[in-house]
Amino acid sequence: MSTVVADAHDAHDEHHDHKPTGIKRWIFTTNHKDIGTLYLWFSFIMFLLGGSFALMIRMELFQPGMQVIDPHFFNQMTTMHGVIMVFGAVMPAFTGLANWMVPLMIGAPDMALPRMNNWSFWILPVAFLIMLSSMFVPGGGPAFGWTFYAPLSTTYSADSTALFVFAMHIMGMSSIMGAINVIVTIMNMRAPGMTYMKMPLFVWTWFITAFLLIAVMPVLAGVVTMVLTDKFFGTSFFAAAGGGDPVLFQHLFWFFGHPEVYIMILPSFGIVSAIIPAFARKPLFGYASMVYATASIAGLSFLVWAHHMFTTGMPTVASLMFMYMTMLIAVPTGVKVFNWVSTMWRGAMTFETPMLFAIAFVILFTIGGLSGIMLAITPVDYQYHDTYFVVAHFHYVLVSGAVFSIMAAAYYWLPKWSGVMYDEGLAKLHFWCSLISVNILFFPMHFVGLAGMPRRYPDYALQFADINAIVSVGGFLFGFSQLIFLAVVLKCAMKKGEKAPAKPWEGAEGLEWTVPSPAPYHTFDTPPEVK
């Protein structure tokens, strides 16, 4: 009854903050801030779920021998952990940040395509329900790794593969729609005076990321479709017996997969490029070179995919070309790291939680980058490939890289989102617990990988036992540390905390700080003037 009255009232309402209440607000919302919030909560729930799968893995690997779960379930856990973290946690977190921040940063009233925005979020939970339900069908869920190499995912997989494929399609659609929205918004809705080279780097990096998404998501859609038809409809794209080639799968998958890696890190670069200058109270060093470096990384990301496949038996010349191209990526990535360090140099730094996470990001991401150079060297990669050295490498860039940057972003913008300052004491506790445990978790993986432990093993030889026990302890510590983050965010969501000013950070720059905290439901109805 009250809604009817409210709706009738709505027709004549000039008040900007008016919105439907209850669950309807969230289901039918076309507001970029609401959708951003939905994306961020969804991503956090997926992060905890994917994390709990990782803890299952670490529990089994705590000791040699099979104790807790069986190998088939173990493989489902590694698969689901990967799929959920990549497509459920990291990518939606960035899309959520883009939804919240891109319009605020470029002075736009909303995303350009608000209804599509609603749709691109709400199909995501559906996709993950399908994906998770696949674990409950006879034969179990996907157990072929998040890379689903054929023919393990075709001829030799359980029937739940059909659900896996369908869920992947929906996730891909969601990503493509999200990317289109970002591109259209940035190209058309910048405030007067906001030229491309004045855009904050977070906007730039997302702009480039969105093009990567549009370029490679269809390739993923293609390759999962081929898996589907190979398994159920008698085609032989990946079966030699029918004239296909299992290695073709890997080429297609990694042609998607490598740009995907950058999709998960470029927005991080943008976040860190916003936070470091804010807390160093000094302009970002080399803005233009940051933009060019991001664009070159994105370009090169299309030319390096086969470095995931050095052991598949490529011709020497092909291996060489992929090795050189991969090493070349170190140059623009190095430029970025040097720029961040130079931004800090002779600044006047303070170390609030966003800055702590940003600094940890620079250091730990660089460690992941350096092990990436080692992995690029083809003849040595033969020893690293598919070992825990690789697991250590990509968790350094994805967890202490991408995930840390997302946390930095959350702390940085929480006052803007919620209108209250987060609990700095709890936040610092969260940071230090995460920093220490993430290194207990992932650093020893380098050693056990070099010593020869392969990845995706439910059980291992005795010489790897000590390090695996340490890693498992680190895993549990890291996992439970994230509950502190949950507590901090819940406190903000319940408006418990000091009231935040429009610009809570002394050195912060950008249009988002010109609107009050919390940001009103509608902002920039009249575009701001950018000089």
Partner: protein, 380 residues
Amino acid sequence: MKTRRTSLLAGLLALVATPVAWANDLQLNMTQGSTDMSQHVYGLHMLVFYICVVIGVLVFGTMFVSIFRHRKSRGVTPAKFHDNVKVEIAWTVIPFLILVAMAVPATITLFEMDDTDDSDLTVVVTGSQWRWHYSYLDHDVEFQSILATQNEQIYGRLPKTENYLSEVDRPLVIPTDTKVRFLITSEDVIHSWWVPEFAIKKDANPGYINEVWTRVNEPGIYRGVCAELCGQGHAFMPIVVIAKEPAEFQEWINAEEERLAAERAEEERLLSMNMSMDQLMETGRNIYLAQCAACHQPNGQGIPGVFPRLAGEGVSVGDRTQHIDIVVNGVSGTAMQSFQNSLSMSEIAAVITYERNAWGNDTGDAVQPADIHNFIQGNQ
């Protein structure tokens, strides 16, 4: 007082020494291996590692100096600079040159590694779920190599022994000081044949053949594993390679040829006579546990939706010829492979007999080697 201090010191020393002693036993780095090539790879690994350490120390060092000195609490005023073309060119060009310095030795090593010409011995390595099969191209010798660790150790009912999960029933034997070429392929999914001491890791792709080579310097036992996710038995298909002096190897391969010839003669003999039920059941049980139990499970229950159940239903209690057909030819489009080439006729007969009579199936059927022989003949 003094004793207390000494004991405190001793205690501290022990605290430091324990992890150090522990770290000495613990392998923390890549193996140097036992071939020239693995030494090159190790050298490259260390070179790139040290370069990365230097870069890391420089970058992080600068950062820490900055974090220490350029903090607001020290009352500094922030500088205003935000560009410096010269510096930016320098840190684009210098890393590029460092990368070139790493790429040159890497390229040379890679060309050497990929040169499989002029080998003296060729072994075909075939992966399948979840075992390796070795066949010497120039000799009449081939065999399967299966995990030798008992299930009881894996499931904690027996203590784990030294070579837990890195021991096999029949290791691959190769000569030292000889260029041995491996042709690597697979029967089902992708596997990857990895022996760290040789710096060899190559995928076994079904329907395609990859080539690698090694020249082992020292006789010894070298252990490896499957490195590409290949299903639930992925962790349970290790590799063991024994390198013997060429003369010893020659002796071994001759003996092996004779032994296999004798086995084939025995097989011929068995074709014309019947094995007793007990004999069939016992051989069958062993074969079943080694070859079939990974999928169909030791108790014949299978895994619902993935691997068919054999106890009390399906082909094991159904048509006998169809049962023989499935074991001999496999089922195309599924994980059930053909066992015609990997098991002898008596072994196939025994395992079918076992499946038809174990777990309360009790069909009473005894399948004889001759039945398998006739089936295969009839097939062709």
